[in-house]
Symmetry: C2
Amino acid sequence: MKHMRIPPRTGVGLELAKGQLLRIVCPNGSQVADVTAFAADYRTEYLSSGRTIDYVGSIYPTTGDRLWSNRSRPMLAIEGDTAGRHDFLLAPCSQEMFERLYGVVGHHPSCYENLVKALTPYGVDSDAIPVTFNAFMNVTVDSQTGRIDIGAPRARPGDHLDLRAEIDLIVGVTACAAEKTNAGAFGPIDLELS
Amino acid sequence: MKHMRIPPRTGVGLELAKGQLLRIVCPNGSQVADVTAFAADYRTEYLSSGRTIDYVGSIYPTTGDRLWSNRSRPMLAIEGDTAGRHDFLLAPCSQEMFERLYGVVGHHPSCYENLVKALTPYGVDSDAIPVTFNAFMNVTVDSQTGRIDIGAPRARPGDHLDLRAEIDLIVGVTACAAEKTNAGAFGPIDLELS
């Protein structure tokens, strides 16, 4: 078992071999972790929100569901999920997003920037970072109007998401840097590889 | 004004200069058109579902909204929309999708295949085709469970969507090839460029 702690508002890249289990832990509760993945053998094959939502039949994948690539290959199987609410609609927070939606001036840490830093060493181009699977993020949709709302994460201390690699992967994970997404505070994210 | 008809279950690629208007018409009603776009100057900059849903604040962009790139640039402004329901959740239908979800055996026409054919001449890689903006597609989301449902398109004969290019673009448009998405029948899609 390998343990890793992602400090608040940072990110990591790692290799995950077929069959390995990645547990993503929310140690203090109420903290989002953006997750993305690329096939180790085809770096242009990535975790796809659109394929996953179609195959799962839901915007809220959970235990028993799989996360799919743009080539329709299963990439990760969700083997456990004690939080029960994750988002696959929104792109990772970025400098431009903070400026446009929240009027931020000057540099703001972001999941996009952290994923670029974490994945560049693995040959992933900055433009190739797709819509992320936002673990523990609480996005709701109004059925009638389609309006979205970002609520406080439901994750309590110790809640976790267990992802089994179905192919060899390069994975990026962050401890999300957005105020609203994390109910105004920032915690770390813990990873356990086995 | 340039007119173009996309025959049923096919697609086209075209250049759209900044300021040009693309009207996408559903001539017979009840027919979906998958739309994607790439920046003419950076072919790795593409129409992003995740950025758009975040900036629009809704899964149902309509008149007055803009469609955004992965680099957070506005690509297309929706200047008119007589149908009022489009989808930005699902990836374009593909051979693998028809096999996995509907048990299709043998070749099935698909928006993904048609977009690859249409956009390869413009230097777009097949893996780079993202989640499409699915004009006239009627996807609903259950607020509580997150389950999605694909209903019959609401578009009546002549309904249209007007998209103004905010930067120089390469655009791909299809007349969708999926049975369920189009209520079991296939019509053409008309394009008007001005």
